[in-house]
Symmetry: C2
Subunit: 198 residues, 2 copies
Amino acid sequence: MPLEEVDETETGLRARLVDVGVDLVAQEGAQALTLREIARRAGVSHGAPRRYFPTHLELLSAIARRGFAELGKRASAVVEHGDGPAPAREQLASLAGAYLQFALDSRGMYELMFRHDLLESGHLGLRDTSLPLFGRLVELVGVARPDLDARLVAGALWANLHGIAQLWNWGSLQLATGAEDFAPLLHAALDAHLGSGE
Amino acid sequence: MPLEEVDETETGLRARLVDVGVDLVAQEGAQALTLREIARRAGVSHGAPRRYFPTHLELLSAIARRGFAELGKRASAVVEHGDGPAPAREQLASLAGAYLQFALDSRGMYELMFRHDLLESGHLGLRDTSLPLFGRLVELVGVARPDLDARLVAGALWANLHGIAQLWNWGSLQLATGAEDFAPLLHAALDAHLGSGE
DNA sequence: TCACCCGGTAGACACTGTCTACGGCCATTT
DNA sequence: AAATGGCCGTAGACAGTGTCTACCGGGTGA
C-alpha cells in the first residue's frame, strides 16, 4: 500500500535525526554535531543515519537547511508584519535587524549555515533556500534607492550584515569599536548603503 | 651556557612546524592542517609538536599569527607606498583592496585566521596582531571623514570587507549579484561608508 | 665519570566517519 | 497459510585524529 509516500513530513528517522541536530546545535554548538552523537541522541546505532544521509555532510546540510528556512520565516514575518505597507527603508531596517538577531540568537546554527564546506558541497540547495531572501532584499533596495544598482548594493549590504554578524559573534567588533550593542553598527551600515536622509 | 636563548628566530623545530603549516595551508587548505600531517611533513613523530605546542589549537594559532603578520605587512606596504602622502580616501581604497586581495590569494590562511575557535581561544593575541591594522583603519577614516564616528565607521567598513571576502570566497556573491569581479563590490562598499564625492 | 634533563620516539586510548556483513520484521506473493 | 523478498536498523571493523604517558638517547652540568 504505502509504495510512494510522497509526504515527507512523517515522523520517520530521517526527520528525527534532523530534529535532534537542530536541538543539539542550539544547545551545544556547531562542533557538537557529530554523526555518532546525533545517532546516540536519536536512540539509534551509529550506522543508522547512513540509510538516509550517505555522508555526514549531507546530514549537516539538511540541518543547515532548517536554519535557512527559519531565517526566511523570520524575515518574512518581519517584512509582512506591518498593517500598512511600511516604507521600504523601514522594511530594510527590520529585515537587517532580524537577520542580525537571528545570527546572534542562533550562533551555532548560523555558524553551521555558513560553513564553507557545506556551501561548496552543493548539498545545501542555496538557490532555493537563500536566494529568495536575497531577492526580497534586492527588491526593497530597488524601491528605496531606484538610482542605484540594486543587486550590487544589496550584495554589499548583505556582505556587511554577514560581516557584522560574524565579527560580532566572536567579540572582535566589541573589542575594536568598544561598543556593547550591535545596533549602532547596524544603523551605520544601513545609513552607509542606503543613505541616512530619506 | 644557553640558559635563556631569548632569540626565538633560530631554526628549531618550533619554527619549522609553523613553516610547514604555512606551506600546507597554502597548498592543501585549512582542513589539511592535521597535527599528525604537520609532524609528518616536518619529519618528526606525531608526539613531537607537543613539546612546543601543548595543544593542536595552539599550533594552529601560531600558524594563523603568521597570516596576520603577512596581512599587516601587505597593508603597511600599500599604505606607505606612495612617494607623497596620498589622500586618505585613496589610501583607504588601497588598504581595502589589499585586504580583499589577501583573502582571495590566501583562501586557506584567511579561513584559518577567522576560525571562531581560534579567535575565542585567546591564543591568537589579536590585541597585538590585528588591532594595529584596525587602528590604522580608524586613523584613515578619521582623516577622510572627520564628521563621522571613526571607530564606528571603521568597524562597519571592516565588517563589510570581511563579509565580502568570505561570501566571495565561496561564490555566494557571484551567484547573488552575477558579478565576476569583486572590484565593483569593493567600490560600492567604500563609497557607501566613506561617501563617493570627496 | 656520573647524574641530569632536554627533546624526541612509540605506543596506547578514546573518539571520529565510512564501509560491510548480518538480522529481523513487515508485506507481498504463491 | 506458508514462503519469499526487501527495507531498515545493528554491530563490528578500519583508518585516521588529538591527547596522554612511558621511555630513552645524547649532550651538558657537576
